[in-house]
């Protein structure tokens, strides 16, 4: 037994701070194609090691290899590339719009585009996502109009949410995208409830829950895993591990558990880790988990290993807490470049076509932006009415709100 001297308090620290040399040598990256693909009705106890590995399809040469490869046609992959490029361009334009004072706030997806874009393609119409603020790829990949997203960001007269919500807190039932809340993790248990409701109703639709690495520390994460496990709810429990929760490195939330996927094991939930920057791997794993849910086999937890390349938000400066070049050192690379290289390797894409596509996409995004700005921006042009502020608190406006609306002079 160790000498029982003074107790010492333990606070985890990231490997490197600003000024240091980025180092991910402690991150073990399994070879692409090395993780087997079990049947969807596998006994969860037999695949526990999958919670500690990383499912990868694209190798360094850009080839799709192993048992998780081969699910998507070239056409689908080209479409996926376009979705990711669109999200990236959208982000860049909206980031700039915030800097220009056209809106108050924005949050980018830089480096995480594959996660939401590829996941969306594994779902069917009617399925419901319960996203965080960093899954706009679900909307882009489902064809939700970019102009509507921008209208929301600008809180203008065409804002589908009538100016009531902070930018990027989208909502679209039609596109299977649950209303985003600022309160972290609340959606995780709601997703499980939605899935329970689908099962209660003998429906065939499934739910997808989304959470970041940091928010797994919230108690609703735990509640969601308990309920999903207890009722075998048809839900895919997604954890996007982008290494950072604002300034806090993932070790603060993860503690000694090894991986976030490992959290699912204690609940008897099959738990997989996947290369979040590998469009093919994300899609294949998502499809596996979605099929499990739809086959009434219960929940699956999926950890997407990725990296938050951009700042947390337009209100954040990452250089205050991590090395500037850390994202360049990230061993899983860039999801857009990796899919692009794969498609070039397959001979269905080229550098020229990529450059051309970038220009086309930029044009499309700018056109959408012009249209949205025609409806106003936060401080200029059309905006939602003051009356809208009082509507929708309840289905029917109660007397006290009617009085207050009168007092407001509207």
């Amino acid at each position: 037994m160790a000498d029982a001297g003074m107790l010492r308090f333990h606070v985890p620290e990231p490997e490197v701070r600003p000024g240091g040399t980025p180092d991910f040598s402690n991150v073990t990256i399994p070879k692409a194609g090395s993780v087997p693909r079990p049947e969807i009705d596998v006994d969860p106890r037999t695949i526990r090691d999958m919670a500690f590995s990383i499912i990868r399809v694209l190798n360094r040469a850009g080839e799709a290899v192993g048992p998780w490869a081969g699910l998507l046609s070239d056409q689908e992959l080209l479409e996926g590339l376009r979705h990711m490029m669109t999200l990236r361009t959208f982000d860049a334009r909206m980031q700039m719009a915030q800097r220009q004072g056209k809106t108050s706030f924005y949050m980018q997806h830089l480096g995480e585009e594959a996660v939401s874009c590829a996941f969306r393609k594994a779902l069917q119409p009617g399925d419901m996502n319960f996203p965080t603020y960093r899954q706009a790829g679900l909307l882009i990949a489902d064809g939700y109009p970019m102009v509507s997203m921008m209208n929301q960001i600008y809180s203008n007269e065409a804002d589908p949410l009538k100016g009531r919500q902070l930018p990027v807190m989208y909502s679209s039932k039609e596109h299977g995208f649950f209303s985003i809340s600022g309160n972290l993790a609340t959606q995780y248990i709601q997703a499980v409830g939605w899935a329970m409701a689908s099962a209660i109703s003998n429906d065939s639709r499934i739910a997808a829950a989304w959470i970041g690495d940091g928010s797994t520390a919230e108690s609703d994460f735990h509640a969601a895993l308990v309920f999903a496990s207890t009722y075998k709810a048809p839900v895919v429990l997604n954890v996007v591990n982008n290494q950072w929760a604002i300034s806090t490195f993932q070790g603060i939330a993860r503690g000694g558990s090894g991986t976030f996927a490992a959290r699912g094991l204690g609940f008897g939930i099959p738990s997989l880790r996947v290369d979040g920057n590998d469009y093919l791997a994300v899609h294949a794993v998502a499809k596996w988990a979605v099929e499990r849910a739809r086959a009434n086999l219960g929940p699956t937890l999926v950890e997407y290993v990725t990296y938050r390349v951009g700042a947390h938000s337009t209100s954040d400066d990452p250089s205050a807490y991590r090395p500037k070049a850390e994202s360049d050192a990230w061993p899983l690379g860039d999801p857009v470049i990796r899919l692009k290289n794969h498609l070039i390797q397959k001979g269905v894409w080229s550098e020229d076509r990529h450059t051309q596509a970038e220009a086309e996409i930029l044009e499309t995004v700018i056109a959408a932006q012009k249209e949205a700005e025609g409806h106003g921006t936060l401080h200029a042009g059309g905006k939602p009415s003051t009356r809208d502020m009082f509507e929708g608190v309840y289905a029917e406006m109660p007397p006290h709100l009617r009085r207050q609306r009168q007092q407001a002079g509207v």
Binding site: L161, S181, V192, W194, I200, S201, V226, G392, Y394
Partner: protein, 337 residues
């Protein structure tokens, strides 16, 4: 008409609602097979099956959070929190989510849930089986808050709450589950079978949310009360001989201001009574509304009788609980002021 206890009336309300609409789902801790620690859901699982009425893990945020997801799907969950004292882990889900879902999504998603919870003291429940947290909910835009005081109302209000398109906090004064209680703890309690408000019609009926009921007509002073305090106020009026008009608010949010204002304008005096602690309690809102709307009709300061600003004690139950003697004293002071 059949007489029922408040528990039986509440159970009947869920039974009727589940029978009429298969979207109504009932769950919570010990709610399924066992039928609830207060027997409020007894027999529902056997009658409607485990998909409609089931036991939940001990997780209040899980219960309410999952109910919000179910409501977003299109069901109508009526969930139970075993004691109002244990609702706090679900507070984030109630305040940040249920209350705001319609507003923040501009009606894209809605949250027709009911959260039932036994509330109030007078039962030697100590700190965590006696609280009255209604003010924590009346401060939240987007919620409706109900406190019934008798079996007839409990059934009609609960059915209305389940059918309501918005989230409802349904606080059940557990001291009233088996019979009315006027604060005279030294006397035997009369069961609901001996009280006219124990008459509960079979089948479906509703009592509209947002409507108060006048329990005792009077001309000298208006007493605003809800839950157990309705009976305490009535007893205080009888024992002091003061001609008080006792209003049972029934719904705290939205509030029936018209009934309150009409009464205070008639009597010129007002006393607010609640079990919950005084400071920033719902009474403060009532006093404020009365003075704003009835200032020129008031002949005395609006008074409050409430629980003391302490945690709810065990041994000192009857020193804490605002009984008829305390309410009677304040009624006299208000008349003499």
């Amino acid at each position: 008409m059949p007489r029922r206890t408040m528990i039986e009336a509440i159970r009947d309300a869920m039974d009727v609602s589940m029978g009429r609409d298969n979207k109504v789902i009932v769950y919570g801790e010990d709610v399924g097979f066992f039928g609830g620690v207060f027997r409020a859901t007894q027999g529902l699982q056997a009658k409607y099956g485990k998909s409609r009425c089931f036991d939940a893990p001990i997780s209040e945020s899980g219960i309410v959070g999952s109910a919000i997801g179910m409501a977003a799907y299109g069901l109508k969950p009526c969930v139970e929190v075993q004691f109002a004292d244990y609702v706090y882990p679900a507070y984030d889900q109630i305040v940040s989510e249920a209350a705001r879902l319609r507003y923040r999504s501009n009606g894209d998603f809605t949250c027709p849930i009911v959260v039932r919870m036994p509330t109030g003291g007078g039962i030697f429940g100590g700190q965590t089986h006696s609280q009255s947290p209604e003010a924590l909910f009346t401060h939240v835009s987007g919620l409706k808050v109900i406190v019934p005081s008798n079996p007839h109302d409990a059934k009609g209000l609960l059915i209305a709450a389940i059918e309501d398109p918005d989230p409802v906090i349904f606080l059940e004064p557990k001291r009233l589950y088996n019979g009315p209680f006027d604060g005279h703890h030294d006397k035997p309690v009369t069961p609901w079978s001996k009280h006219e408000l124990g008459e509960v019609a079979d089948g479906h009926y509703t009592i509209p949310l947002g409507k108060a009921a006048i329990r005792r007509q009077g001309s000298a002073v208006t007493v605003l009360a809800y839950g157990t305090m309705v009976y305490v106020a009535q007893a205080a009026a009888e024992e002091t001989g003061i001609d008080a008009e006792v209003i049972d608010l029934r719904t705290l949010l939205p509030l029936d201001l018209d009934t309150i204002v009409a009464s205070v304008k008639k009597t010129g005096r007002c006393v607010v009574v609640h079990e919950a602690t005084l400071t920033s309690g719902f009474g403060a809102e009532l006093v404020s509304l009365v003075q704003e709307n009835c200032f020129y009709h008031l002949e005395a300061p609006v008074a409050r009788v409430a629980g003391w600003d302490t945690p709810y004690p065990h041994a000192q139950e009857w020193d804490y609980f605002p009984g008829p003697a305390r309410v009677g004293r304040v009624l006299l002071e208000t008349l003499e002021a």
